[in-house]
């Protein structure tokens, strides 16, 4: 893992969690969506919070697909879940929200999970492409 790759993982973490937060802020303005009025879903992208959230999620998507091109899915997902921890810490120290004991316990579990997975290999080694061809067959092919 190079520094550039760690930077990509940080990008996945940051833009994903902030993008989700922006979306949920915007959907509170839009209000309940009825199945009879599906146009509201499409129109919800006009809301500036939703639009900014979508922009953040596009950057998240670019970083995410880049990470998936050189690391396993089961590595990328837990490794970038530290974003939940960062969001809770922002909520506690910048937004002065009350963070319960259960939430602190959740943070400990997520951090432990991230610690576990990032100490292992990022990619499953590709299987050997060598196919055992019986000698008689390979001789027949050569002839």
């Amino acid at each position: 893992m190079t520094f550039r790759k760690y930077l990509v993982l940080v990008g996945v973490m940051f833009f994903g969690s902030v993008g989700d937060a922006l979306l949920s802020r915007g959907m509170k303005d839009v209000g309940s969506i009825s199945l009879n009025n599906l146009a509201t879903v499409i129109l919800s992208v006009i809301n500036p919070w939703v639009a900014l959230g979508i922009l953040f999620l596009l950057v998240f998507f670019a970083a995410y697909t880049t990470a998936l091109s050189w690391a396993d899915l089961t590595f990328v997902l837990p490794a970038t879940s530290i974003g939940y921890v960062v969001l809770t810490l922002i909520a506690k120290f910048y937004l002065h929200e009350q963070v319960s004991v259960m939430r602190w316990l959740g943070i400990v579990l997520i951090s432990a999970g991230v610690g576990f997975v990032t100490r292992g290999p990022a990619l499953t080694p590709a299987p050997e492409n060598k196919i055992d061809v019986p000698e008689t067959v390979s001789q027949a092919v050569q002839q």
């Binding site: 979306l23 998936l68 899915l73 089961t74 999970g113 991230v114 576990f116 499953t124």
Partner: protein
Amino acid sequence: MKHVYTWGAITAIVLASVAGDILLARAMKQIGDVGALWRKSGLFAVVGNMLRHPLFLLGIVALACAFFSLLFGLSWGDVSLVAPASASLTFVGNAVAAKFFLHERVDRRRWTAALLVAAGVALLAM
């Protein structure tokens, strides 16, 4: 009834997210290291390769379904239930699906990580 709608949306989010993640991961492995490809052939080649890959496009469709299910879910239920519940179930679903469909080596370390993160995300909702 709203409760049923909320959990229906959560189920839809999880199924669509897992399908999308698996399809994208498969496509990106076949395309290869994006950084190396970018240096060699430029950004347009990278974007072109991705947009021409059928699995990538299918993955986008699945993730779009997950996105709209999330919008529905957020409008029906509390964000503190919908977001952590769908995220933690997606973690576990992805670990199972990656083992069977992507043949990733999901060893004890990765299972533990997926379960710890899923449990942690669920606790954040409390």
